[in-house]
Symmetry: D3
Subunit: 64 residues, 6 copies
Amino acid sequence: MPTIFFLGPKLERDKRKELIQSFTETASRITGVDKRAFTVYLKESDPECVGVGGELLADRMKKQ
Amino acid sequence: MPTIFFLGPKLERDKRKELIQSFTETASRITGVDKRAFTVYLKESDPECVGVGGELLADRMKKQ
Amino acid sequence: MPTIFFLGPKLERDKRKELIQSFTETASRITGVDKRAFTVYLKESDPECVGVGGELLADRMKKQ
Amino acid sequence: MPTIFFLGPKLERDKRKELIQSFTETASRITGVDKRAFTVYLKESDPECVGVGGELLADRMKKQ
Amino acid sequence: MPTIFFLGPKLERDKRKELIQSFTETASRITGVDKRAFTVYLKESDPECVGVGGELLADRMKKQ
Amino acid sequence: MPTIFFLGPKLERDKRKELIQSFTETASRITGVDKRAFTVYLKESDPECVGVGGELLADRMKKQ
């Protein structure tokens, strides 16, 4: 029943699969909880709806 | 001010209404808090963005 | 794998059990997902760390 | 590394920027943590997926 | 019914009150939603349970 | 600014450090985001406040 949330950029299918598999295996190994008990939620963050350092992430990314 | 989050499958309008009504009434009765104080957020989880047991839920559903 | 969060007052053991059982059965019936797949997290909110209407909940409760 | 989540109505770009800037500056001043360390997530809540007082927010808004 | 979560350092009572009041007034003004509808949750993060840049926050703070 | 939440059992310091380091490095590699931008929150779940399959986790663990 452990639950993991990942809030980050939009990812392609292969990367979503890899992230879920890797997080689950790592957390199962470290906690000793069977990996079948894990749920992972990937939440894509739109840079238009995230602020970093007081600034819209979308604006910040344009500057870099 | 109690707050309930439900992360689960996409639901039709009637089911969303029933879930909100039922959760609120149950929680109000058990806690003794007036039901007007409750907020419920229904968050639809896309099976392409959820992992169960280390596997993408979308893939797991195809197998069943 | 649906997940429910309840943020509300501290509850005794019997009430926690009743809330978990009731939420799970209701949500399982409405969504059609097997109840074994549900996880419920009860998060007690300390009135010293919650604000309602711009005011500390602890202060608001004293007035009532 | 402090993190702020705002769950509320859909907002236009200028309002999103103002909310992020204001939350970050206020929280930085009160906590003493450098504002560069703050992340803010704005989560738009669809009134079709929110319940208030046991009722769908979309229905409640129609009545008002 | 908008809901705000603040995950950050432990704060004294006066600062918690100020943060709740300020967040609520700012968000009410920007969204046009009555401030009575807002709930704010302050969640203290223990530096022993937070990671920044892959490192335990507690360790990082010792270095500074 | 990606953010990871882990809700699971209480862990000793070495395991918390390992989990934070491993999650951050994996997610940084897969997303291409610099690891300095990641925050990880470890949230210990008390088995007295978690339900699995409609049952209190604490009760379920006693049976096993």
